[in-house]
């Protein structure tokens, strides 16, 4: 897969190159007075592929959203040594939410172009198309995603993310809704991404995921992080 062999680039200053992709210190997230994530301290290094598991409601998605700045939190979060909400942090990661966030009135091809423009990566357009073809969406490129199945929408969402050369990739339940072949392709891509020096953090609760990805295993249980 040509898109698969993309190199990882750590853009930014020397400071950003030295700092780990994710570093949290006593991170706490509470919603409506209930603590969802408590005192999470961990570091994700370059070249690491980490799988965050835990039972339903353990706070996996909450933790991921807090990391990218979508939820207010207490404690410290630094992405490449920078505050997670700022522009310099946003330049360095790509986030795939659990439910695909797509524009119903953009075709798949237009999504690819838009994605490349948003992240200022001209080549990401072609890479995304290559990914979508590889994932079996080649004949759907000029269609709107509105009528597509959950799995196809998930493939589009993943294809767009994998086309980007970001040093940090965060994925929330990326394997949900994918057919077996696409799961294999995604697992290969994530492993390749990590071995090329990028950091990958994903959530999931399938045991076979751990066997397939051989990741660093983090477990979130009752809001506390183990591993």
């Amino acid at each position: 897969m040509s898109a698969n062999s993309s190199r990882q680039q750590a853009s930014g200053s020397g400071h950003a190159k030295e700092a780990p992709p994710i570093q949290t210190e006593e991170l706490r997230v509470s919603l409506g007075g209930v603590n969802i994530v408590e005192d999470v301290t961990f570091v994700l290094k370059r070249g690491e592929l980490a799988l965050l598991t835990g039972p339903n409601g353990a706070g996996k998605s909450t933790l991921l959203r807090a990391l990218v700045g979508l939820l207010p939190s207490r404690g410290e979060i630094a992405l490449f040594g920078r505050p997670n909400g700022g522009m310099s942090a946003r330049e360095r990661f790509v986030f795939v939410p659990d439910e695909p966030a797509l524009y119903e009135d953009l075709t798949l091809r237009e999504h690819a172009r838009f994605n490349a423009l948003v992240y200022s990566e001209p080549d990401a357009d072609e890479r995304a198309i290559a990914w979508l073809e590889e994932l079996g969406l080649g004949e759907k490129l000029d269609e709107f995603p509105g009528t597509h199945s959950r799995g196809m929408r998930q493939k589009l969402s993943l294809g767009l993310a994998l086309a980007l050369e970001r040093p940090l990739t965060l994925l929330d339940e990326p394997f949900n809704g994918l057919d077996v072949e696409a799961q294999e392709q995604l697992a290969d891509a994530l492993r390749a991404r990590a071995s090329a020096g990028g950091a990958v953090l994903l959530t999931g609760h399938q045991k076979e995921l751990a066997d397939r990805l051989k990741p660093r295993h983090l477990e979130l249980r009752n809001g506390l992080l183990h591993g």
């Binding site: 409506g32 700045g69 207010p72 700022g86 966030a101 838009f114 992240y119 200022s120």
Partner: protein
């Protein structure tokens, strides 16, 4: 990126999505309503507006100067704006949030389109209000104010900016520089405007002469003066607020903006779906339309928006019904739980409203005249056509009851494919509301008789009126539940409330008209039984 800037992405997106969405909307309106119908309505609206303006004649003696009142009103609005700002004035939808909000895009570039749409709305509202004011002032106050429209449009834009700046000040945590800047900018600009308004108000109410310079450049000068100078202060304020807004969105999003956007866009989607479905004329409980306007769901979303308890855990809970309990009991428990879990203040307000509605029902049943009677004027027979103007009074009381009961029916329950028959659903949903309202009859009677002053008549004499009010309550609540479930319109909407009230007032109206008022009560009970067994 070679040859491109980050703005290109947003432009690319808006060029495609906005155009396509507008086209879809145009086509949809054309099919659902018809453009010729809309043009026809616009034509007559314009004709009526012109005719209305032409009929304006100057008053024989003009009204006193509105300067003081306007300054006081504007000060209150401005103070409320400066004191508020807990939730954002505009949000990103989920797609924009994930695809643009998390991307390395300057927040202002991402938000600019939505902000412009909001600005356009505010400006148009200001222009319209100002235009109406300009047309009215010569006839009502005897002066001309032809710059009112642009002045009000500018002020509306300033107010919009100030709202955003207050939000940005609240939404950033601790010592964040963006917090300080947004607070400083909003308070300085808002403060200057407020001081000017207060000065104008003080000058006016102390009958002192407003200095000419202040009269021309005060924020609301456009409403009372006829000079282009009236635009100077609003223009200057807008320039400053716009710079401050852009500066507040230069690099980072306010931390709570993301989650608040998710919640608010969800609420907006609920409202939009409801409006679209109603405009398309699709009814029926099967659509689950009532569920879209579920007040409990809206409340939970609001709690989540403001990070209040109640979003993730219930505030309080009623004991669960036993597992072998009948279906109606489960439904009644669900409704009662939704009521019981409301915040205390809101619960208190609901009870107060219910009490007043019951008082109205008692008054309509004739209790008030009963209290006012003397031994020489006998108590009229119990019938729901007492005071408040006979059948009209009953109708008003029933409408008030329906309004109150709409907040007591609990969440919409679409039986759909569930093995629940409509009678069980209606009984289960309506029981807590009916029980509460009937229980309130006692304090309502005490309240009403204590207002009478001359001492309450014995219970035996009051009983017919209490029974009359109870039957009216039952009829209104059941009719509201039935109609709301059948039509799919949420009980909180005026349409089901009107239908329920009209149905409940029908016996009093018809029998009263034929001089058979004594039969009202029994007919009400018969109607109640009939409504109860209707299988919808």
């Amino acid at each position: 990126m070679t040859g491109t800037t980050t703005a290109d992405a947003v432009r690319y997106l808006r060029r495609r999505t906005v155009g396509r969405a507008a086209n879809s909307y145009r086509r949809w309106i054309g099919r659902a309503v018809g453009w010729w119908t809309i043009l026809y309505l616009i034509f007559w609206l314009v004709v009526f507006a012109i005719a209305g303006v032409e009929t304006l004649a100057p008053l024989a003696s003009f009204l006193p100067s509105p300067v003081g009142i306007l300054a006081a009103l504007a000060s209150v609005v401005l103070l409320a704006t400066l004191a508020g700002g807990r939730s954002p004035t505009l949000t990103l939808d989920r797609r924009d949030l994930y695809r643009l909000g998390l991307a390395p895009q300057q927040p202002w570039r991402v938000l600019r389109w939505r902000y412009s749409v909001k600005q356009a709305g505010a400006a148009v509202a200001g222009l319209l209000a100002g235009a109406v004011w300009s047309l009215l002032t010569p006839a009502l106050f005897g002066f001309q104010a032809w710059y009112a429209a642009p002045a009000l449009a500018l002020l509306a834009l300033v107010l919009l900016d100030l709202r955003w700046l207050r939000y940005a000040g609240h939404a950033h945590h601790g010592e964040h520089p963006a917090r300080g800047a947004a607070n400083r900018d909003s308070l300085v600009i808002g403060g200057v405007l407020l001081v000017a308004l207060v000065a104008v108000g003080v000058f006016h109410f102390t009958a002192a002469t407003v200095p000419e310079a202040l009269a021309l450049i005060q924020p609301l000068a456009g409403l009372t003066e006829n000079s282009p100078w009236v635009l100077s202060l609003p223009l200057l304020a807008l320039l400053n607020t716009q710079l401050a807004v852009r500066s507040s969105l230069r690099n980072e999003w306010p931390p709570r903006f993301g989650p608040q956007s998710l919640v608010l866009s969800q609420m907006q989607a609920l409202r939009a779906s409801q409006v679209l479905i109603l405009m398309a004329g699709i009814g029926g409980g099967g659509m689950g339309l009532g569920g879209l306007s579920d007040d409990g769901e809206r409340r939970r979303l609001l709690d989540a928006l403001h990070d209040r308890p109640g979003a993730t855990k219930p505030r309080r809970s009623l004991p669960l019904p036993p597992s072998h309990a009948p279906q109606w009991q489960a439904l009644a428990w669900r409704t009662a739980s939704a009521l019981y879990r409301r915040p205390l203040v809101r619960l208190g307000f609901t009870l107060l409203l219910a009490l007043l509605a019951v008082v109205a029902a008692l008054a309509a049943s004739g209790l008030a005249p009963a209290i006012a009677t003397t031994p020489e004027t006998p108590v009229p027979t119990g019938s729901t056509a007492g005071m408040l103007g006979g059948a009209l009074g009953v109708l008003l009381a029933a409408l008030f009851l329906a309004r109150s009961a709409s907040g007591l029916l609990g969440p919409y329950f679409d039986i759909g494919v569930r093995p629940v028959d409509p009678l069980t659903r209606s009984f289960g949903r309506a029981l807590p509301a009916m029980t509460l309202l009937v229980v309130l009859l006692l304090p309502a009677t005490v309240l009403l008789t204590s207002l009478g002053g001359a001492g309450a008549p014995p219970l035996g004499e009051l009983l017919p009126f209490i029974v009359g009010a109870a039957s009216l309550i039952g009829l209104v609540v059941l009719a509201l539940e039935k109609y709301s479930s059948w039509s799919g319109a949420a009980a909180s909407r005026i349409e089901p409330q009107l239908v329920a009230a009209m149905l409940a007032a029908l016996p009093a109206l018809l029998l009263g008209a034929f001089g058979m008022g004594d039969w009202t009560l029994i007919t009400q009970f018969l109607l109640l039984g009939l409504v109860a067994i209707i299988p919808v």
